[in-house]
């Protein structure tokens, strides 16, 4: 290392060293013989930054962006992947107008909205309540938290499949438990059958799986409120009720927002669990857009059309994601 070349040396000159020299290492390199400089410098920071970042960027370009652009291009054509020899025609925005005026797809969107609203609502209410209870820090809360989050770690596909079994009225568990507690005969209703229960069945499974997620985020939010804030409110003569509504809730709100957006995005593209649980039935009562899209793309092979469909979903999710990142940064600032 060259004499007086480190930050201390520059500071001794009375100069703001970072202004004139971006990096002490560069200085070190300049002040030392070349062979030594190489040892110290290795590569310039800029080069290292590029070497470190570029594989990630490259991978993302290859796996995410390039296919996305391809999808956008296909969405303006009538391409069908199962007919490699057919002529590919440019159809302008016809695919988009066809989708956006299709009443069936509109009703699938409504189905999706129903699923979204209820799962989010239930997960937020149950998740927050659980977090609030666990935050009482009773003995063993750590163990219980760990147990509660297990459903979240399971494979949605395996879960969806197994729940069809649990929902079976004659041989499944759910109906018998209901019978045990309410006396309603197990065989008198069917969670996945007609009669309007099926949309609730998928909501129940999703809530079962993902409430722990919302709970964890709420717990993070609750734990981010320092004790002294509550002490201050106590001294300020706020009742417990008022403390809850004017302190706990507003301060957890950014975290809740995060949970809501993330679950919204995830459930908007929900595919595996519902596909294996109901396949969209009965009728089209649980046909979420992502299942519809998968069928258009990989069963009917209307590639161009389904690309447009995918882009519509993607833009929606991307929009939500940008709000999400904004919220995330806000939470980060806390």
């Amino acid at each position: 290392m060259g004499e007086g070349a480190g930050p201390g040396g520059i500071a001794a000159l009375g100069l703001p060293w970072n202004e004139i020299m971006p990096n002490p290492i560069d200085i070190a390199a300049k002040a030392t013989p070349p062979h030594l400089a190489n040892r110290v410098r290795g590569l310039s920071d800029r080069a290292i930054a590029w070497i470190f970042v570029s594989p990630t960027i490259f991978l993302l370009l290859a796996i995410n962006i390039f296919p996305l652009i391809w999808t956008i291009r296909l969405s303006f054509t009538n391409y069908a992947a199962n007919k490699p020899n057919a002529e590919v025609k440019w159809v302008g925005i016809r695919n988009y107008t066809r989708i956006l005026t299709d009443e069936d797809i509109w009703s699938h969107m409504t189905t999706t909205a129903h699923f979204l609203i209820w799962t989010i609502l239930l997960q937020v209410i149950i998740g927050f309540t659980l977090a609030w209870l666990i935050n009482r820090k009773f003995k063993g809360n750590d163990l219980l938290t760990t147990l509660i989050v297990i459903p979240m770690m399971l494979s949605p596909a395996v879960v969806g499949n197994f729940w069809t079994f649990l929902y079976q009225p004659q041989i499944g568990m759910v109906n018998y438990i209901v019978e045990f507690f309410t006396g309603i005969p197990a065989s008198s209703f069917s969670m996945l059958g007609p009669g309007g229960l099926a949309p609730w069945s998928i909501i129940i499974v999703d809530t079962w799986m993902w409430t722990p997620f919302v709970m964890l985020i709420c717990l993070a939010g609750l734990r981010s409120i320092p004790d002294y804030i509550y002490e201050a409110a106590e001294v300020d003569r706020a009742s417990k009720w008022r403390q809850f509504w004017t302190i706990t809730i507003p301060m957890v709100l950014p975290f809740l927002m995060l949970a809501v957006l993330f679950r919204g995005i995830e459930n908007f593209k929900m595919f595996d669990m519902v596909n294996l649980l109901t396949g969209g039935g009965p009728g089209s009562e649980t046909l979420l857009t992502s299942i519809d899209l998968k069928r258009e793309a990989f069963e009917k092979w209307r590639t161009g059309y389904s690309s447009a469909y995918a882009i519509i979903l993607f833009v929606t999710i991307f929009g939500l994601a940008s709000i999400y990142v904004k919220a995330l940064n806000k939470v980060k600032e806390r």
Binding site: L100, W106, S107, A113, I312, V315, T316, S322
Partner: protein
């Protein structure tokens, strides 16, 4: 309100971002509401505008 407007005219990030956020949210609601087909039809356009606006305006100065 006036601060919001002047923020818009001076290309400040905050109000523009909020506007974009509102557009995105509006687009999502339009996409999924069960009442008007026309709203469903134009939802994509609204979301797209909101999203593009968000990307652009996040580069405005604070």
């Amino acid at each position: 309100m006036t601060a919001f407007l002047s923020g818009l005219f001076r290309f400040r990030r905050g109000p523009w971002e909020n506007l974009a956020t509102v557009l995105i949210a509006l687009g999502v609601v339009m996409l999924m509401q069960p009442f008007f087909l026309w709203a469903f039809t134009y939802s994509f356009f609204v979301t797209l505008v909101g999203t593009v606006m968000f990307i652009i305006t996040s580069h405005f100065p604070e």
